[in-house]
């Protein structure tokens, strides 16, 4: 058993997993802080649409509400992956 254990690949330390999960969720929550409650839903639906054309992860979509002299501006940015667009077989 000792030798088997030795040969097994070490799993990723749980602290590393925790850090990565936090990095993502904190960034997401910051980007929508103080913004309307529908933003997370909107973000998800946008992701579905965008995915038809290009493979992106929800992390790539950033939504911001800017308040600017009396009116609010919804700012949306999508980081496109390097290289290949999705084959347009989505549907």
């Amino acid at each position: 058993m000792g030798i088997l254990d030795f040969l097994k690949r070490k799993p990723e330390p749980t602290a590393t997993v925790a850090k990565e999960r936090l990095r993502i969720i904190v960034a997401q929550e910051r980007s929508t802080r103080g913004a309307p409650d529908y933003l997370p839903l909107l973000r998800n639906e946008l992701l579905e649409v965008i995915k038809k054309y290009v493979h992106v992860d929800i992390e790539a979509i950033n939504i911001n509400v800017e308040r600017d002299s009396g009116h609010e501006v919804l700012e949306l940015s999508v980081a496109l992956p390097d290289g290949k667009p999705a084959t347009s077989s989505a549907g």
Binding site: P13, A18, K19, I25, V26
Partner: protein
């Protein structure tokens, strides 16, 4: 000028009351005139940690409602004559604290010449937590190296920079101090716990101190003596360092690494 410091966290049970008691005591040890207020209405706890539970006659809500004067309600600490405790009320009325009432008490403490008022916030982001942070000049955000605590503290950092009087008035930002508590260097070393650096990177703010997980904290609360007074404990020393840093001194972090192992332990494990 009276400086108001809120000790807050979002998540419950991370060490706010422990920290409030030690911070207030540490500031008093540095010669400051200090009041520490328990904002956890309904769940009075700070009095126990400060060891003055049997001397509570009037509380914070009594002062706000005009049922007692501030002077009658401030409990003088047994160990430091320039340290006072204002206990939380045990009422179940959630609206017992009002913004005007809190402001009135803080103003009066200012007139009485207090250098610092430490506000021990309840958990959550509801009214009590909001009122505890609203008038603050400094915030000590207590966080544990654990996912839900880190996430909640980011929420709190956001609220501190938007939902406080300073933010609303554009008076300049609250000084934010991140305090990492219940830290276990041995578990960090083997990848089981987020490190100081991890937490700093995720939240984008440096720690003002790291308090190790320590058995002495329970012993201190059993005895009703803030752990900062325990000269034998690393947690106590870490709190002393933290208070010094909040007062502007530079001190290196201690108790964040595992004590170095000897040769045989390194070779044979253990």
């Amino acid at each position: 000028m009276t400086e108001i410091i809120v000790v807050t966290s979002g998540k419950g049970g991370v060490g706010k009351t422990t920290t409030s008691a030690s911070l207030a005591t540490g500031l008093a040890m540095a010669g400051k005139k200090v009041a520490v207020i328990d904002f956890d209405v309904g769940l009075r706890n700070l009095d126990l940690i400060m060891g003055c539970e049997r001397r509570v006659v009037y509380d914070f809500v009594n002062v706000i409602h005009g049922e007692a004067t501030l002077k009658q309600s401030l409990i003088k600490d047994k160990r430091h004559e320039n340290l006072y405790v204002l206990a939380a009320s045990q009422t179940r009325d959630k609206d017992a604290l009002t913004q005007e009432g809190v402001e009135k008490v803080l103003d009066e403490l200012g007139k009485e010449g207090f250098d610092y008022v430490v506000c021990d916030s309840p958990a959550g982001i509801e009214k009590g937590a909001h009122l505890a942070m609203y008038f603050a000049d400094h915030a000590v955000v207590v966080v544990n190296p654990e996912v839900s605590s880190v996430r909640d503290s980011d929420r709190i950092l956001g609220l501190l920079s938007s939902k406080t009087r300073r933010a609303e008035r554009g008076d300049g930002a609250i000084a934010q101090h991140l305090l990492l508590t219940r830290y276990n260097p041995a578990r960090v070393a083997i990848g089981e716990m987020l490190s100081v650096k991890d937490v700093e990177e995720i939240l984008g703010i440096n720690v003002v101190g790291v308090i190790p997980e320590s058995e002495n904290v329970l012993a201190a609360s059993n005895a009703g003596v803030p752990v900062i007074l325990d000269e034998q404990s690393n947690a106590g020393h870490a709190y002393r360092d933290t208070v010094a840093r909040i007062l502007g001194e530079e001190r290196p972090l201690r108790f964040v690494d595992v004590a170095k192992k000897g040769f045989f332990q390194r070779v044979f494990g253990g």
